[in-house]
């Protein structure tokens, strides 16, 4: 019990060292368990933001923690442990959720009204790779719009989370920013085609 109490006070680096020195032993495993439990809340919260469902988020968090445990030996120590675990969590969530479209929001988005013109997103993605999209975004959008659109389309982040991450304080949050960004981008794309 006393050992458990001591171990809880240890910094991440020390737990990690202990876990890697004796991965099969009781002490090593206990250190790994304490280390991962320390971050379980953050991992769960991150997964929940993507799926907005407690049970699903719990399953995803369990999977992330299990994978992180299996791959603990691969942590190179170039960053803090929390950063590495974020990278693991982020990769997992990105694989689990579908990529939202870049140029249109939800079907209720007023900008999504039907048109005879070709789907602008398909046109854009057929011609441009991620780097080119990045350049286009930088050229035509303001910094908050750039980040909001990137978080939505490439980080696959839900709109409510973008509002919090970017601390957007207007009443409609990131939704309005995204609509504006998409409109600008479509206009830019249209001008580019002509």
């Amino acid at each position: 019990m006393a050992e458990r109490r001591d171990i809880i006070m240890e910094p991440d680096e020390s737990l990690l060292r202990r876990a890697l020195q004796d991965p099969e032993g009781n002490r090593g495993r206990r250190a790994a368990s304490v280390l991962l439990s320390r971050y379980q809340r953050q991992v769960y919260a991150w997964c929940f933001r993507y799926v907005q469902d407690h049970e699903r988020a719990l399953e995803m968090a369990q999977e992330v923690l299990a994978r992180a445990y299996v791959k603990l030996g691969l942590f190179s120590g170039r960053s803090k442990f929390g950063t590495w675990l974020f990278a693991v969590t982020r990769s997992y969530c990105l694989n689990e959720v579908e990529r939202p479209r870049l140029l249109v929001g939800s079907p209720e988005d007023p900008d999504c009204l039907s048109s005879d013109r070709p789907d602008p997103e398909r046109v854009l993605l057929e011609r441009l790779d991620e780097e080119a999209v990045l350049e286009l975004i930088e050229k035509h959008l303001d910094p908050v719009e750039q980040k909001a659109l990137w978080l939505r389309s490439f980080e696959r982040m839900p709109v409510e989370t973008i509002t919090r991450v970017l601390r957007i304080e207007n009443p409609s949050g990131a939704r309005a920013v995204l609509q504006r960004a998409r409109r600008k981008l479509r206009t830019a794309l249209e001008a580019r085609r002509q």
């Binding site: 099969e24 368990s33 719990l58 923690l65 960053s79 950063t83 693991v88 694989n95 910094p143 978080l151």
Partner: protein, 240 residues
């Protein structure tokens, strides 16, 4: 600095601590990709930012239990089994030892054997009750077999054969390649055979990742995972 020199996530916190005028710090703040990723990282680290609708109390309890079960108890059970095997004589040895010391040897022996046979029969015929221990998605339940990975072998046509020790009752296997951050690079399903042939083009495509890759195998029965190997570094045979 071009956008192609985006900042690795592992370095972002250090770069953020550089003076604002430093080109790398400027890049971190101005590049939509890096700035978004860094904002995400900071949001992940901010424990006060709890999304509405999340049940942290339940999550804490169940995740602690899951981590404890998966990591600590699995070892304790293994260690306990090992120490029992090392220190205590087996049940059969103890029965024989007792019979040798008993004054009513023949009668006791017959009685003990009859009871033992009856007991075995009852156990074998008992209706199977589902285990109360929950197995997490992606977790191998205690006692299940793991596919044991063997070293990749180079084939004469430039391809590579990956193989592993088969798992009893497995109907197929999933082979997954990962980067160091656990993101998947590629996955294949093999069917019931416990090996996978990667032709030269596929090996070359994997080598193009230009970073260390890792591979692991999951044994499947239908859609259920029944075993999972530890992850190993993938080294193309003949190359260091």
């Amino acid at each position: 600095m071009t956008k192609r020199e985006c900042i690795d996530i592992a370095e972002m916190q250090d770069v953020f601590e550089l003076p604002r005028s430093h080109p790398r710090r400027r890049h971190l703040e101005e590049c939509p990709r890096c700035a978004s990723l860094f904002a995400s990282l900071r949001s992940f680290s901010d424990t006060s930012d709890e999304p509405a609708g999340a049940d942290f109390e339940d999550a804490d309890r169940r995740l602690s239990e899951a981590v404890e079960n998966r990591i600590v108890r699995a070892t304790s059970a293994r260690a306990d089994r090992a120490s029992v095997q090392e220190s205590a004589p087996s049940a059969i040895a103890r029965v024989f030892e007792y019979l040798q010391r008993s004054p009513l040897r023949p009668i006791t022996a017959v009685a003990v054997l009859a009871i033992a046979l009856l007991g075995i029969r009852m156990i074998v015929n008992a209706p199977h009750e589902p285990s109360r221990t929950r197995t997490l998605r992606g977790e191998t339940a205690p006692g299940k077999q793991q596919p044991v990975l063997e070293s990749p072998r180079l084939l004469t046509d430039g391809g590579t054969r990956l193989s592993w020790r088969p798992v009893e009752r497995a109907q197929s296997y999933r082979v997954v390649f990962y980067r160091a951050d656990m993101s998947e690079v590629a996955r294949w399903e093999t069917g019931p055979e416990s090996n996978l042939l990667l032709n030269a083009a596929k090996v070359e495509a994997l080598a193009e990742a230009r970073e260390p890759l890792f591979w692991g195998v999951t044994a499947l029965r239908g859609r259920d995972e029944i075993g999972r190997s530890p992850i190993r570094v993938f080294t193309v045979p003949g190359k260091s």
